[in-house]
């Protein structure tokens, strides 16, 4: 029986012998990191071009390879200060274990429920924020599968690369609606209660439009729950829904007798439900190393592939790249895992024949060993 790690590296070596990893743009200004015991055992690596990078990968066969979002004058110098940082791509990292879902497996695993939750969040980030508010085009938002349980969005537009850490923090606060102030968005008494209209740009309009949609639904209970207002207020709003919706279109917020603080509460409640959650550290840290797109994630055997259409991506099927030749394995744990079009039933002590990609996945996750 071959120890698992050696098996994994042998499989990756076979893969990298036949396939090349794509160089990220401006490869000569990037720092690289590689690891097999940990995600990163070595960093401060640098490559002149795609060839030297692939030669390195073929000779040392790391389980994980990552590269810097940042651009440096001297990417291999150390300590960090001597690299002379120039700028950095804007990165968003979404990870399945960040979201509450109904699934009950342990944190190292994923399933369709948590993966569709993170996919949905990534789609909202793109469609509700990055495109309309920040003005990035679809082509400028490069979606990459992380190789395990999430996504990395890379934005390499020149102006975005110039965002300072403080600037990146402002972006994150925008996405999470942290620091949102109803007063700053135009809530004020001017004879009557004025606030943002549905046509307004930014968060004000987003919230007004969403509230107006909830009200148009006509369900007081639903409104009370989703907008965080009391049921009596919600009933009053629904009873006068046309006036209220008309009012919101013009930024008049007191078409019914609902107190200002209730509206402000609804405002914050709706904002929280519309905001998106991304890993703050990855976006803020302009020297962070991120999984190299088109390399293999050693913990799954999946390729960190570029994704054309996020909404249609199947994270348990599309990134399968290892072969289908049969391997005999022995189960270590009881677990059902969907991979591609089949569900593999790992059972402790049970021997079975699996396609290479499934044997790799099982070994890497500690669900089986290769005989």
């Amino acid at each position: 029986m071959e120890p698992s790690k050696e098996y994994l590296r042998r499989k990756l070596s076979e893969y990298y012998d036949k396939h090349s990893v794509l160089a990220p743009p401006r490869i000569d200004q990037r720092e690289f990191g590689a690891g097999s015991d940990k995600k990163i055992d070595f960093r401060h690596l640098a490559f002149r071009d795609e060839n030297t990078m692939n030669t390195y990968i073929r000779t040392s066969v790391p389980l994980y390879i990552s590269y810097s979002a940042g651009y440096y004058e001297f990417p291999d110098k150390r300590p960090m200060a001597r690299k002379n940082w120039q700028s950095a791509d804007l990165i968003f990292d979404l990870d399945a274990d960040e979201y509450e879902t109904s699934c009950d497996h342990d944190a190292s695993m994923v399933c369709d429920i948590c993966m569709s939750r993170v996919t949905e969040e990534a789609v909202r980030l793109v469609e509700d924020f990055l495109i309309p508010d920040f003005g990035f085009s679809k082509g400028e938002i490069i979606s990459v599968f992380s190789g395990n349980r999430g996504y990395h969005l890379h934005i390499r537009r020149e102006d975005a690369q110039q965002l300072s850490q403080q600037g990146r923090k402002e972006l994150l606060d925008y996405l999470s609606s942290r620091g949102l102030e109803p007063n700053a968005l135009g809530f004020r008494m001017e004879g009557h209660l004025r606030g943002p209209s549905t046509a307004e740009k930014g968060w004000g309009g987003k919230i007004a439009r969403h509230l107006s949609k909830l009200i148009a639904g006509g369900d007081a209970k639903e409104l009370a729950k989703k907008a965080g207002v009391g049921l009596p207020s919600a009933k009053r709003i629904i009873a006068n829904k046309h006036e209220v919706i008309n009012g919101l279109e013009q930024g008049h917020w007191d078409k019914v007798n609902v107190r200002r603080d209730s509206w402000e509460r609804a405002f914050k409640h709706v904002a929280a439900s519309l905001s998106v959650k991304v890993d703050q550290g990855v976006t803020m840290d302009v020297s962070r190393l991120i999984r190299l797109p088109t390399s293999i994630h050693g913990g799954t055997g999946f390729v960190a592939c570029y994704i054309r259409n996020l909404g249609k991506f199947d994270p348990l099927k599309d990134p399968i790249v290892l072969g289908t030749s049969v391997e005999r394995v022995k189960g270590l744990k009881d677990m059902d895992v969907r991979l591609g079009d089949e569900t593999i039933e790992f059972r402790a002590g049970k021997e079975m024949d699996l396609p290479e990609y499934a044997a790799y996945y099982g070994c890497a996750k500690g669900l089986c060993v290769v005989e």
Binding site: D133, G135, D159, A160, K201, G204
Partner: protein, 348 residues
């Protein structure tokens, strides 16, 4: 003097133009004028050097650079205008991050005060600082990088990558922050200048009174302010702030207005609030400057009276003296007076 003769022969230095250049020493108009004057770093006017040095020291110690803009004398205005680039050089050469940071902030404060009176220049000045504003819109990257604390991106009208600056105050704050960052960047870079400036910068480093500027409350030289003579209600509020407990608006307002009116300098006041949860130095500074009338409407707020304090429930442990006064500040004044008298007697 070289400067005057130049000024005389060109006759281009209209006083109003010059005053503009002094108020906005980074504007492209000023840069053109400085170029025209061919300021020579090798043999500078000693008065310009002296003024530049003072500008840095005032900035660090008092958060105030007070450029001379009112003069009708072109010589004085030109000297003031040239003092700015030299002050930056000196701040940079000091190699002291405390001096650099404080100086940059003081320059930005001066800019803010001018712009609040004449916001019509803000747009042009933003462009001079490298961020053109088109029909009231700023690219979001520029905005996010210099978003003033009280006008966060999350509260901005962001659409298709642009932020709409609807209110003049937002624009003014934005330009001031842009300017502050620009100075910090400029003075972070190493500069090649004649040796003499290095020694002047070292003098600044030595002369700056850090106590006056800041450090912790305990090490603070509060000048005329003596915390031991504060009324019991204020002492309780200071203890509350120092304990790290959250403070509601009213106690916060009471404490800061009292301290302001007792003439405590702004930095120690900020230090008192430092242990409070979610403390944010910029926000606190803004808030205090606002209460001082330096920001916003310009009204200086007075501290609440004993009657109001009782109403809000912030009057605690009143003592005998409290029975004779109607305002916490009177308590302090009476105490200070009797202390001084006692001191005079014992000294005599």
């Amino acid at each position: 003097m070289r400067i005057t003769s130049l000024a005389r022969c060109f006759r281009i230095f209209d006083i109003n133009r010059l005053s503009y250049c002094v108020r906005y020493p980074f504007s492209s108009r000023t840069k053109d004028m400085v170029k025209l004057l061919k300021f020579d770093l090798e043999s500078p006017d000693p008065l310009v050097v002296e003024r530049a040095k003072q500008r840095v020291i005032d900035g660090v110690e008092r958060n105030l650079v007070e450029p001379e803009t009112q003069s009708r004398n072109d010589k004085i205005l030109i000297r003031e205008m040239l003092a700015f680039p030299l002050a930056k050089i000196l701040a940079s050469l000091s190699g002291d991050s405390f001096v650099k940071r404080r100086y940059a902030r003081a320059e930005a404060n001066a800019l803010r005060r001018f712009l609040e009176k004449e916001p019509q220049f803000a747009s042009q000045l933003s462009a001079d600082l490298g961020v053109p504003i088109t029909e009231g819109f700023v690219p979001f990257v520029a905005y996010a990088n210099a978003a003033p604390e009280q006008y966060k991106l999350v509260n901005a009208e962001l659409d298709s990558g642009r932020v709409r600056l609807r209110r003049q105050e937002t624009l003014v704050e934005f330009v001031a922050e842009l300017f502050r960052q620009r100075i910090e960047e400029d003075i972070a870079k190493p500069m090649k200048v004649p040796k003499r400036y290095t020694s002047i910068a070292a003098e600044i480093k030595g002369e700056v009174n850090r106590d006056k500027a800041y450090s912790s409350v305990k090490e603070m030289n509060l000048g005329p302010v003596t915390t031991s003579e504060f009324p019991p209600c204020i002492t309780a509020l200071i203890e509350l702030a120092q304990s790290g407990a959250p403070m509601a608006h009213q106690p916060r307002f009471t404490l800061s207005t009292f301290l302001i009116n007792a003439n405590m300098p702004i930095d120690p006041i900020i230090e008192i609030f430092r242990p409070t949860p979610n403390f944010n130095e910029n926000k606190t500074r803004y808030y205090i400057e606002y209460s001082m009338g330096k920001k916003g409407s310009g009204t200086k707020y007075s501290a609440p009276s004993c009657e109001k304090m009782k109403f809000y429930g912030t009057c605690v442990n009143p003592d005998a003296l409290c029975g004779r006064i109607k305002h916490p500040l009177s308590y302090y004044i009476v105490k200070m007076r009797s202390k001084k008298q006692a001191g005079d007697k014992s000294g005599a």
